[in-house]
Amino acid sequence: MTTIDAAELRRRTRELLAAHPPATTGRTDFLRARFDAGLAWVHYPAGLGGLDAPRSLQPVVDAELAAAGAPDNDPRRIGIGLGMAAPTILGFGTDEQKQRFLRPLWVGEEVWCQLFSEPGAGSDLAALGTRAVREEADGDWIVDGQKVWTSSAHVARWAILIARTDPDLPKHRGISYFICDMTDPGVEVRPLRQITGEAEFNEVFLTGVRIPDSRRLGPVGAGWKVAQTTLMNERVSIGGSRIPREGGMIGPVARTWRERPELRTHDLHQRLLTLWVEAEVARLAGERLRQQLVAGQPGPEGSGMKLAFARLNQEISGLEVELLGEEGLLYSDWTMRRPDLVDFTGRDAGYRYLRSKGNSIEGGTSEVLLNIVAERVLGLPAEPRNDKDVAWKDLSR
């Protein structure tokens, strides 16, 4: 860690703004310049978009840039790349991989997706069956298999992919981790329509896809360990910014309550107030977590926040549909679309209600997260297991 402090970051940010005035610089050009100045993610190494500065100082840069009206890199659109691919590449990638992938990833020129889940392997991800076989001749890998529920596969240029490279080993040990080019022959993306009517995620069929060994991430057979980094980052994605009171899903419901007295009933009032309190407490718990991170004392609370928000989003959006009564019976649009990103707040209550059902499934189900809290945070004993020392090919499926 260098001695870069808030004042120094502020100075460098102003320098960037002076050299590339947002008013006259194109969006992509500005973002590239920001990356090259080390102000993209300040805790990353110098030369890779950062300055080896404390992560807690990123808000200093963000605030300066926002005040100057600078464009941002639309983190929601590139969430998988930013939140999962990037830390994994940083942790396990070669120098060439880091140089090649991090800049366009951060700038948003290249969108990423995550080819992890399979029809037969969701929570039990390590059971996956997609095969990667190494060619004797050139050392390339030939990949065959099917992935599913892949968000953004239809807009992604790259994918993080885990595949089985040795079926004779127990399931966790025979997996390797790759970077897959979604434009390669043999990659077929089919929309998978979901509960909301749109196709936010996809099925991905991999047929004889050739991946050069230079796009393997981490050692052969160490894919499960690499994937742990990805999954950990997926679940601890609490941002560095403060959420204002009523900043989450409770906001629109509270506003409707204030503006539409004719919708109020006693039963709804009790439920609204209870959920209001829970939303406020979850906000405070998130704020406390943020303060712990800033103070350099990260607690295990992160693992719990996703659980809390999944349940709250579902209950609050459910209440909102009921509060709206006759309007709650309607839905804006069932057209099958393939959106670039999920926009919770831009759509109506019915959409929020249906989409939030995914919050307790995507990125690890709530049941699986409760297992993780129980075992890793509380230290409760693991379930007895019968798959640990059995070769993957001999497991019952």
Partner: protein, 375 residues
């Protein structure tokens, strides 16, 4: 305050190093003087409170005077530190009149703003742990309903029901329509009749005044906001007691279920139990944020205080009761015994849920503060 008001200063939700030090001092004292068998023996004796424990906690450690400025003989600390003491008292369900005397009565007197005279003098006695004072209002009185506290009039005649810790009090602070009086508990015309409380670690009594005399501390106009402020501090810091209580229940349950075997496995390896404990953990983590927020708001005098207190109470009461109920259930038969301390926690948690306003009355306060009115 309007619905859109933002907090001006970010609340500090962490513990300072000094607070951590205070916590370990209080914790080791309580481990020494107030372990579970001691508490169980104590609740069966005639004197619900152990004067030695109170002296060690209130006077020797100086916990009784945390809220009182140094020039009045206190420690000049704040609600944040007092909250830490309460977390520990909740964790050990120690019988000590801390919440009632060192917080509610003390805060009420402080709110009168007198720098000398009887108020300052009494504060000095309380801060030094030499005297115990309680506000003579029913324990369930919510801050918002503090006008209901007026139980006696003019000549100090009347009855106040369910006064917490009155049995341990040297001085009763009696709100009347004339103002706030200080009445010596052993003065002529004062009877303190012990009740049989659900929570045996916090005695309740009926206070009856018959032509009793007292010292007028403040007129009605000054007394009303002071009583309100005292009850607000009580409700806000009660959340920390509930947090400590819930945390003990969770820790003990985790410990027990790791050791207890049934079906040839530790029962803590059964997912049905693991999920319940993980859920409790999430509630405790959240309760900590809410309780810290209330303590910090009280300490900094934030305009957000009434909301922060109502949120903390509406949330933490339920968490404490839930944790104590789960603790008993997951302990099985042993959780139902008198020897095992779990029952002490359930009794305290359930009584705490009624103290200084129920969750429902705090929700009503929130509805008003946030402009989310009933139909």
């Amino acid at each position: 305050m309007t619905a859109q008001t933002e907090e001006t200063v970010a609340p500090d939700l962490l513990y300072s190093e000094a607070e951590d030090d205070l916590r370990s001092t209080v914790r080791s004292l309580l481990a020494d003087r107030s372990d579970a068998p001691t508490v169980i023996a104590r609740i069966e004796s005639d004197t619900p409170y152990d004067p030695q424990l109170w002296k060690a906690l209130g006077a020797d450690i100086g916990a009784a005077g945390l809220l009182v400025p140094e020039k009045l003989g206190g420690q000049g600390a704040s609600h944040r530190e007092a909250a830490v003491v309460l977390e520990e008292l909740g964790r050990s369900v120690a019988p000590a009149p801390y919440l009632t005397s060192a917080v509610v009565a003390t805060e009420t007197l402080l709110a009168l703003g007198s720098e000398d005279g009887p108020v300052a003098e009494l504060l000095g006695e309380l801060a030094a742990g030499r005297k115990v004072a309680v506000l003579a209002v029913p324990f369930p009185t919510a801050p918002e309903n503090s006008s209901a506290a007026e139980a006696v009039t003019g000549t100090l005649d009347g009855t106040v029901t369910a006064v917490a810790d009155a049995a341990a009090a040297d001085v009763l602070l009696v709100p009347t329509t004339d103002g706030l009086y200080a009445v010596e508990a052993d003065a002529p015309g004062v009877t303190v009749e012990p009740l049989v409380p659900l929570d045996q670690t916090r005695p309740l009594a009926t206070v009856t005044l018959t032509a009793a005399t007292g010292t007028l501390l403040a007129d009605a106009e000054a007394a009303r906001p002071a009583v309100r402020r005292g009850l607000l501090a009580g409700a806000g810091l009660l959340a920390s007691e509930q947090l400590g209580l819930a945390e003990w229940c969770l820790t003990e349950t985790v410990r027990y279920t790791r050791e207890r075997h049934q079906f040839n496995r530790p029962i803590g390896s059964f997912q049905a139990l693991k999920h319940r404990m993980a859920q409790l953990w999430l509630e405790v983590v959240s309760a900590r944020a809410a309780a810290r927020n209330a303590a910090d708001a009280l300490a900094s005098g934030s305009p957000d205080t009434p909301l922060a207190v109502a949120v903390a109470q509406a949330y933490c009461s339920k968490v404490a009761v839930h944790a104590a109920e789960e603790c008993i259930q997951l302990h099985g038969g042993i959780g139902m015994t008198w020897e095992h301390p779990a029952h002490l926690y359930l009794k305290r948690a359930k009584a705490d849920a009624i103290a200084y306003g129920t969750a429902g009355s705090h929700l009503e306060a929130i509805a008003e503060l946030m402009e989310l009115p009933a139909p």
